[in-house]
């Protein structure tokens, strides 16, 4: 039975009205936040409040913080798009997967990594690579309790493999002339949840990949397109709006009067085309862990950037490790590379190299069917019978092609 749209249409209409609703005080709140943002030029005052929320007696603050004094930028400062250096090699990596299916035999999962290399300042055809890996052994498929691994484990392994592949190619290109910019389509503050099998090993691999990128002199950027839920700078403004005494007694998880605002609301109003915000870091246990375990060079900073070329702003967040954030020329190169890559795709500003890496990595439903045909052929060569559970088999039959009968 297909979805009965007549039963859902009124709910879709209600959803539309709900989405269109607007906090009547939203404009006032945004104006207030903007005024506070523009007035927050006193770095010492901001650092003082950050020191307070970092005390063990205060918890819950997950907002932005300035970098250490030597590298800190004034909060409301805006940076125009710098010129791209004459020679830049841009590496972008993305991944796709086929998850293991407990209803089919044999069980396996697949990671496919797409890597795209784009050269600027030289007439050279871009390079492209795909690196598929098939995992089918018990060790790869089972957790410590011999259960089939979950999707979050596959996602985590894919994320790490993306950065690992990126780092290996960056290492090979480390002696190329010009700057080496590397992109992933994800935040850099990667962390595994408790339900991920082999979490420690995965984090170690991620760390090794970051170290290799650092040693390759790569300018690493994690591109986060339209981060709708990001409120890190709004949280900082909330912190700055509070009386100092109240900070010690408040739940810093909340956003107070700025509850309806996001960082995108703020930066849509602030950043002109091509401009970036000040560099900031996220004040969180995860980032603290990066700094303490991985080293100071590996704490993750970020900036917001308006990648649009016209009056309609499009805000992205770019994560960068501290080894990049402390190097002004590297930050400028990353900023310029992001904006120039986004300009390639007309009305849909998004880095071209990441679009192509995604295209290379994507595993379609047809690809999956062909791969399974190949696996089944191999099994039959070895006199084995592929199969699926009766449940899945019946589901496929019921969902499958239906012949239309005409009277």
């Amino acid at each position: 039975m297909a979805l009965e749209f007549n039963k859902i249409i009124d709910k879709v209409e209600r959803m539309g009205r709900w989405l269109a609703r607007r906090d009547p005080n939203m404009d006032d709140r945004l104006d207030e936040a903007l005024a506070l943002y523009e007035a927050s030029t006193d770095l010492e005052n901001i650092q003082k409040r950050i020191r307070i929320v970092r005390q063990s007696s205060v918890s819950g603050y997950r907002g932005a913080a300035p970098l250490d004094s030597a590298y800190a930028e004034i909060l409301p400062e805006r940076f125009a798009r710098p010129a791209l250096p004459p020679l830049v090699t841009i590496l972008a990596c993305d991944g796709s997967q086929i998850y293991p299916d407990r209803h089919t035999y044999p069980r396996y999962y697949l990671l496919n990594i797409g890597l795209f290399v784009y050269y600027t300042g030289v007439n050279r055809r871009p390079d492209q690579f795909t690196l598929p890996q098939l995992y089918y052994t018990g060790k790869a498929l089972r957790d410590t309790r011999k259960r089939l691994i979950n999707r979050r484990t596959v996602d985590a392994r894919r994320s790490v493999r993306e950065v690992d592949v990126l780092s290996q190619h960056a290492w090979q290109l480390r002696h190329e002339a010009g700057a080496l910019v590397t992109f992933v389509d994800n935040r850099l503050l990667f962390f595994t949840g408790g339900d991920v099998t082999g979490a420690d090993k995965i984090m170690n691999e991620y760390r090794r990949a970051l170290v290799r990128l650092h040693r390759s002199n790569a300018i690493l950027g994690g591109y986060v397109d339209a981060p709708q839920d990001s409120r890190q700078v709004i949280r900082l403004l909330h912190l700055l709006s509070m009386e100092e005494e109240r900070i010690y007694h408040s739940d810093m998880r909340g956003l107070g009067k700025f509850d309806a605002l996001t960082d995108i609301h703020l930066f849509r109003a602030v950043l002109r085309p091509g401009e970036r915000s000040a560099l900031l870091v996220q004040n969180s246990p995860a980032n603290y862990e990066y700094r303490e375990s991985f080293g100071e060079d590996y704490e993750i900073a970020f900036f917001f950037v308006n990648v649009s070329r016209d009056a309609r702003p499009h805000i992205a967040r770019v994560d960068l490790p501290m080894w990049v954030a402390r190097d002004k020329a590297a930050v400028d190169t990353l900023h310029a590379a992001v904006v120039s890559q986004c300009a390639i795709q007309g009305s849909k500003p998004y880095p071209y190299a990441l679009t192509r890496a995604d295209e290379l990595a994507y595993v379609s439903g047809k690809d999956r069917e062909k791969l399974e045909e190949l696996i089944h052929l191999e099994m039959r060569k070895h006199l084995m019978t592929p199969g699926m559970t009766p449940k899945q088999s019946m589901k496929n039959i019921a969902r499958g092609f239906k012949r239309r009968h005409k009277l």
Partner: protein, 204 residues
């Protein structure tokens, strides 16, 4: 066979087929004179490697690509992006062929082949000897002129120009085209408007 020789001849590989024609696919970077409208191509029929369907290319389609649509909206397209799109990306091209005859190792025959080619069979440009043998008899004209799904007049004219240029010596071409025109006069004597149009199209 010298390395690369077959690659030089291959027009594409069969995607779908019937006895009346077939579609084949290739990569956009390989498009050249072999894929011209009216070109003579052949493909081995199912389960025989010594019998070939002979056909004419009547349509070449470059599939819609949403990424290209976005790129053309940008103010400028960088050279390296152009190279990436043209040389790296798998932009599929489909070529449609109408069957007009078949051949074995000894001779050619007008009309539909006994069986269609199989999927993934190599589609190659016809050898000049095959084209000259096949076109010297003009028997395939009626099949093309009566084909409803193709632009038949333009296709026949393009095929005659292709054959004249590729399969005949310069001193034979005029005779070939005059003989072709005479055959058309016989076939289209009941439709003078169409005949006049076709004769105009094949005028050297």
């Amino acid at each position: 066979m010298v390395n690369g020789y077959l690659e030089d001849l291959i027009v594409g590989r069969v995607l779908r087929s019937s006895t009346t024609g077939f579609d084949c696919g290739t990569h956009s970077t390989r498009l050249d004179d072999r894929h011209s409208f009216g070109a003579f191509v052949e493909a081995p029929i199912a389960n025989r490697d010594d019998v070939y369907a002979i056909g004419l290319i009547y349509a070449v389609r470059v599939d819609d690509d949403p990424l290209v649509s976005e790129l053309v909206r940008a103010e400028t397209v960088e050279d390296n992006v152009l190279r990436d799109q043209r040389e790296n990306r798998l932009i599929p091209v489909e070529i449609s062929v109408i069957n007009i005859g078949w051949r074995n190792t000894e001779r050619t025959f007008p009309g539909l082949p006994p069986r269609p080619p199989m999927s993934l069979a190599d589609v190659t440009a016809c050898d000049r000897l095959v084209v000259s043998h096949f076109t010297s008899k003009h028997d395939f004209f009626r099949l093309v002129l009566n084909a409803a799904e193709v632009p038949s007049d333009d296709l026949l004219a393009a095929a005659l120009h292709y054959a004249s240029a590729r399969a005949y010596e310069p001193d034979e071409r005029e005779t070939f085209m005059i003989d072709s025109g005479r055959k058309l006069v016989r076939l289209l004597s009941h439709d003078l408007k169409r005949l006049a149009h076709l004769l105009e199209l094949i005028r050297p």
